[in-house]
Amino acid sequence: MNKVLFFAHLRDAVGAEYLTLDAGGKTVAELKDELVEKYDLPRMETVMTAINEEFASNDEVIRDGDEIAFIPPVSGG
């Protein structure tokens, strides 16, 4: 299983700080697509992904037990 954390407006869209789901074997891009379909998440293509607190590209493969975080870049200042 995987713990998937959401930051900023993604957390509001999902309605929870994190989800527990089975993402082992999927790429980051595949997981994003699944989540977009289920939760209507906005602009996931520009959202940054961390696997175990390390930056991960869209084609990186998730292993069982990895902790995933989705962090949207913001522009306010």
């Binding site: 954390l5 900023a8 390390e54 930056f55 975080a69 522009s75 200042g77």
Partner: protein, 339 residues
Amino acid sequence: MNERYSRQVLFPGIGQEGQAKISSKHVLIIGAGALGSGSSEILARAGVGKLTIIDRDYVEASNLQRQQLYTEEDVAEKLPKAAAAEKRLRAINSAVEIRAIIGDATPELLEELVGDVDLMLDATDNFETRMMMNDISQKYKIPWIYGACVGSFGMSFSIIPGKTPCLNCLLRTIPLQGMTCDTGGIISPAVQMVIAHQTAEALKMLVEDWDAVRNSLVSFDLWRNQYTSMKMSKAKFAGCLSCGEERTYPYLDHENMTKTTVLCGRDTVQIRPSSAGEISLDQLAGQLSALGYTVKGNPYLISVEIGAERMVIFQDGRALIHGTKDLTHAKSLYQRILG
């Protein structure tokens, strides 16, 4: 060393030697809104040698909730933020050389300015300007520190050319934005938290303690009690057009820049004339008054009521049209006044 800086000289990370370095450095801060007013105050108090601050906006009532250099009087006088910031920073530390530039951060302006700049701080509110800073940083090998916030959420990342990934590696393209900034609002503690991270990184770089510089992107949500640190070395992208082998610095190219922009989080359109040049504000104000418009002004700008909208025109021909997000409508109002 001066009694004034005694508490930070006592801090082992700085010391006498670090303080001497800080006082010999030049920092460029782009933006004097929430992040810029806060970080410029911290660096001025810390005794940085020279601060250059660029901002295109003026102080409004809705800024006072989070923009720390400004007062009710600055709002009443409609002072440009860069001018109001300069005034307060001088009262705080008269030993710091401060240069305030009222205007837009264009590639030309930045290329002209950065000759002796040691560090750039991000205090802008849009990714277009950040991508431009990022290209300038890579082209002239000047580190910069990304910072941004919305709601109770914020983030920061330190970018050192030749060492860390750059902003273009992370984003690959300018994110479509607007929604979060328009709808999320902002609380002042989130601003301060970003500033704390940006200025701590700035001090490390100014004293040249490069090993202490954070190699992760920090993000946090103060209302939700979240904090995370993401290691970034794997984000480096060999094909990056800003920092890769085949770099072209795409965001220094005017073709990639808009002329008309809806300002983030505000019912306001900015119009930038395609050619640079000064206009006579006095003359224009006289003409408009004669036409029956309500016109107010100061040496830096004039403000004109036009029906439900309000247009603020700066000396360089740039204008802000408040009360609309419609680019075409805004452009037509602009052309009605300035031809």
